[in-house]
């Protein structure tokens, strides 16, 4: 099968001191198209580092390939959705935040732009908020717009670094549900970082657990039947398996 993302021998060292260690060492990950990969791991194990290397925001040793081509620096084929609520441009309206990346990447037609903005805002359940400024939105709404902005440019891969981690439990569930719907509707390939087992199990087709030292400890397919909730058959076993593979899991729920 054709791989859309290949991470080959990824080694990352921030080299910020004489005693700096490798955060990630010879990491290899292959991803086919339309896979939803959730990466779990204890705090500080290198999840953000990994996704930032894939996004091209960091220097590293090794190779990151997208559709067989080595990547150099950030690019429109890999869109990052950050955990930080303030990733939208505050000087642009919600609508313009979505239109702007399209505009600088070649979509010039005004009607086309408006249509796309509307379409993607509807997709994330925010129709009607076009003219608002980001500071007028809640954290959850901002994350929805960021996802819409990312989807609109049709990247090959969407990278998400704990995008829902700072949200309250209810909003978080809602956004997970929305993301599942989007996953069904659009053909998206997602790398989703989380340290929430429930979130990983609900969203991911494939689950990777990183060890404290940044190695792949577990790499499995999620075979649970959707919709996935605590009553789903096999939920308990999978939960335990993931939890056992996460060291120092006292802060996990």
């Amino acid at each position: 099968m054709d791989k859309i993302l290949k991470v080959k021998n990824l080694t990352k060292n921030y080299k910020d001191g004489a005693d700096s260690v490798n955060i990630l060492e010879n990491l290899n990950i292959d991803m086919p198209e339309n896979q939803f990969l959730c990466v779990l791991g204890p705090s500080g194990c290198g999840k953000t580092t990994l996704i930032r290397c894939i996004a091209g925001f960091e220097d590293y040793d090794g190779v990151v390939e997208v559709s067989g081509k080595e990547t150099k620096g950030p690019g429109i084929d890999r869109i990052m959705v950050f955990q930080n609520f303030d990733q939208l441009f505050p000087w642009k309206t919600v609508e313009d935040n979505i239109k702007y990346p399209l505009k600088i990447n070649g979509t010039k037609d005004k009607e086309e732009l408006s249509k796309l903005a509307k379409e993607y805002l509807e997709l994330v359940g925010l129709a009607g908020s076009e003219k608002k400024y980001p500071h007028q939105l809640s954290g959850g709404m901002k994350q929805r717009v960021s996802i819409a902005r990312g989807l609109a440019v049709k990247p090959k891969i969407i990278l998400m670094d704990e995008p829902f981690a700072s949200l309250d439990a209810i909003t978080r569930r809602n956004l997970q549900r929305e993301l599942l719907k989007i996953k069904e509707k659009e053909n998206v390939t997602v790398v989703f970082i989380t340290h929430n087992i429930q979130e990983a199990m609900t969203l991911g087709d494939r689950l990777i657990v990183l060890s404290k030292s940044g190695e792949i400890k577990l790499d499995i397919h999620n075979t649970l039947q959707a919709p996935i909730n605590p009553a789903t058959e096999g939920y308990g076993e999978l939960w335990k398996k993931l939890s056992d593979n996460l060291e120092g899991n006292s802060d996990l729920y």
Binding site: A55, F57, P74, Q87, W91, I104
Partner: protein, 255 residues
């Protein structure tokens, strides 16, 4: 609005106190004119003395100088963000040059350009470019990394990244830079005009003040100061206030 009322009450009290001081003759009248004298001088200045022409001449010089200064400050600051080498050099230049008062450069400017408009504009540009550059660069440096990475992620590089991300993201600093630059330029201009007097192309409000002092027309000096204050208020509230309202305030970037 509450602020405006407080400020209004303050101004009224100040004027009253002024008038009382005058009435009791605490200072000699030649040094301390009444509000009425100043108002008269103000009106007469515009009607008979051509104060408007002096004012407009000063304003034309300051706008020319500011325009050049702003453009240069932006160009160099943007270059400094794009090129690390240029950043080191420019940062150093800003630190050094910002220390030199404009008036101290005046003799040099006269030697270079002669007693004319170019010299005045040179001093105005000098007074604005360094503080503005410092504000712009500080602003650029404190732009939230997530905006920069978002911009790069969507394909922005070089000058486009500066224009579409750094600049709006640091607009608050840019505005303070403009305010500081404006104040410095205005001061620089008035001092130069006082030293300079008239040039072939005209004379400004600094020269007007100087003439009034020579004639020991204290009320006239105050009238000219009043003009400077009024212009300052217009720029501060009308121009900068309006810009702020339609940018950083609308964007929720300041309270």
């Amino acid at each position: 609005m509450k602020q405006a009322r407080i400020q209004l009450v303050f101004v009224a009290s100040f004027l009253l106190l002024w008038q009382i001081t005058y009435k009791f003759g605490i200072f000699p009248q030649i040094m301390f004119p009444s509000i009425g004298d100043i108002s008269n001088s103000f009106l007469e200045g515009f009607i008979e003395d051509g104060l408007l022409a002096y004012t407009l001449y000063s304003l034309s010089l300051i706008f020319k100088g500011m325009l050049i200064g702003i453009v240069l400050a932006f160009a160099f600051s943007s270059l400094a963000i794009i090129s690390e080498t240029f950043y080191s050099i420019y940062n150093f230049m800003v630190s050094v040059c910002d220390l030199i008062p404009g008036v101290a450069l005046l003799p040099l400017a006269i030697l270079w350009f002669g007693i004319n408009e170019t010299t005045v504009i040179f001093i105005v540009v000098h007074s604005i470019i360094w503080p503005m550059s410092r504000n712009i660069i500080d602003g650029f440096n404190s732009v939230n990394n997530v905006y920069i990475e978002s911009g790069k992620n969507y394909g922005l590089t070089g000058i486009n990244l500066v224009k579409d991300v750094y600049l709006p993201a640091s607009f608050n600093n840019v505005l303070s830079g403009l305010k500081v630059g404006w104040a410095r330029a205005w001061r620089g201009l008035i001092s130069v005009e006082m030293i300079f007097g008239t040039t072939s192309s005209g004379a400004g409000i600094g020269w007007y003040i100087f003439m009034k002092r020579t004639n020991i027309d204290t009320a006239g000096v105050f009238a000219a100061l009043l003009v400077i204050i009024i212009i300052g208020i217009i720029i501060e509230y009308l121009i900068f206030g309006t810009i702020e309202k339609h940018t950083v305030k609308k964007w929720g970037m300041v309270r």
